[in-house]
Amino acid sequence: MAKYLLLKHYRGAPAPVNNVPMDQWTPEEISAHVQYMNDFAARLEKTGEFVDGQALAPEGSWVRYDGEGRPPVTDGPFAETKDLIAGWMVIDVDSHERAVELAGELSAAPGKDGKPIHEWLEVRPFLAAKPSTTECTFK
């Protein structure tokens, strides 16, 4: 019963094994890939482990406070940003092992020639808001 974020990167992750950009796949290969992702999410809903999944546009801008009474400053997008997040899935699972197992399955999505991409996904545990009642040393 812990939530994990499975992060997919446009850039910033180590290179996948089947490293052919999507625009060089056949349309059927793209369809197969999309279908795999949809099936994966649907399967997680059935197992009662799905919380959320979203994709992000590659281009965003930077925003910061610029002082009282002034509009926020915006900048970017910066084409050279090293780490670029493509999307995420949030899962609620019984163990870290299960989170890793699911990330492994998601990484097996088919790419060029229908072969698994072996894409690197980042698995990050959520920080709960509070410690459990009886297990915290300080309370």
Partner: protein, 394 residues
């Protein structure tokens, strides 16, 4: 006219499911039917007894009878498929067998079924909250911060998993206690107070089964719950035991916890929950943090370490040794443990500070904050590091 509140209605859930199962419904269908009947009850009962007798009597005087009748009707409605119709007609001829149901036994069987070892912990928790606790899927989903559809799937899978399990055999109490302990530890989020619900369910279990560890768990929950209001500062920050306002502890809950624990310990069948409750009782018993009987607490940790290999126990023992015999002794106890254990750095930081090595303590508090498993602990530990780094005393 007496109004029936939701808690009372929910407490009838396991008995009503049991009644349907004994009339021939399978568990999964019975549980669905009872959930529907509960929702109807919560909707119609506050307005008083149902005016039509079609619902089966006066719900205020015989709440359980009303629920059994309505749930049974829902069950029959749900089995309308052609193949099921013959069976339904048979069942209609057999029923009803009214009168007092063996509700205690039914309730116990449900606890065992919902904590069945074939279920994962999260499935067992969800099924227990619904079938024993009578919570709706939406309430459970909100409490665990997952979508309602996800929780619905988790529950229906859990029901399929236990569908072949016989309903009439006792199971292992330890599995039930683990599930209730998990519910208690989840605490409070959303509009369902899971700690209070865990106490209610454990109290109900303790009423139906004579087992010192059930009593031990109930005592442990009561003793921890008694301090709940003082564990969190108004800004949400964590208040450690030594700094809690003891005048705000719930003395009634403490008295009940101590009484339940003493009766359990008198049985001389010590278990993990009784030992944990004994430690909680010693804390609750100290008028000030300074008056805590740390020597006895260390003895209980030694007992506990013999009953479980939990790293939490070993770390907490090192803290207790540090209080009983001084920080050097605590650090020596800590040195025997694997430094990669969760909260190891936090305990080391605390003991080093007590020992006067503030630089090491500050470094370890910062390291512990980095590894903290939740926000409240991270913020607390970061503040401890900041306090030492800015040269302030506690």
């Amino acid at each position: 006219m007496t109004q029936l509140d939701e808690a009372l209605i929910r407490s009838l859930t396991p008995g009503v499911i049991g009644a349907l199962v004994r009339r021939g419904a399978d568990f999964a269908a019975a549980e669905d039917a009872v959930q529907e009947a509960l929702i109807e009850a919560i909707r119609v009962w506050p307005a008083g007894p149902s005016p039509s007798s079609s619902s089966g009597g006066d719900p205020v005087r015989d709440a359980k009878g009303w629920l059994v009748t309505v749930a049974w009707r829902k069950f029959l409605d749900a089995t309308r498929a052609d193949t099921a119709r013959r069976r339904r007609e048979d069942l209609v001829e057999e029923e009803p067998r009214p009168g007092p149901a063996a509700s205690v036994d039914d309730t116990l069987q449900l606890y065992f079924l919902c904590a069945h070892p074939s279920l994962t912990p999260s499935s067992a928790v969800a099924l227990t909250l619904r079938a024993v606790g009578g919570l709706t899927t939406r309430q459970i989903a909100q409490a665990y911060l997952v979508p309602e559809a996800t929780m619905a799937q988790r529950i229906s899978r859990a029901k399929r998993t236990v569908s072949g399990v016989r309903f009439d055999r006792p199971g292992d109490v330890a599995t039930v206690l683990r599930v209730l302990y998990l519910v208690f530890n989840e605490g409070y989020s959303g509009d369902v107070d899971l700690a209070a619900e865990a106490i209610r369910l454990t109290r109900q279990l303790a009423a139906g089964i004579d087992h010192p560890e059930v009593a031990g768990l109930l005592a442990l929950m009561l003793l921890h719950h008694a301090r709940r209001a003082t564990r969190t500062a108004p800004d949400g920050g964590l208040v450690p035991l030594a700094e809690q306002d003891r005048s705000r502890w719930d003395t009634k809950a403490i008295a009940e916890g101590v009484e339940v624990l003493q009766a359990a310990l008198a049985r001389d069948r010590l278990g993990e929950f009784q030992a944990q409750a004994a430690i909680a009782a010693l804390h609750a018993d100290a008028p000030t943090a300074e008056e805590t009987d740390w020597v006895q607490i260390v003895e209980w940790y030694d007992e506990l370490a013999g009953l479980t290999d939990s790293p939490v126990v070993r770390l907490n023992r090192a803290v207790a040794v540090g209080e009983a015999d001084g920080p050097r002794a605590g650090l020596a106890a800590l040195a025997e443990l694997d430094a990669s254990l969760p909260r190891h750095a936090a305990v080391a930081a605390y003991l080093h500070e007590r020992d006067g090595d503030l630089a090491t303590a500050a470094r370890l508090y910062a390291e512990a904050a980095h590894k903290a498993p939740n926000l409240a602990e991270r913020d607390y530990l970061t503040r401890q590091a900041a306090r030492l780094n800015t040269g302030r005393s506690r």
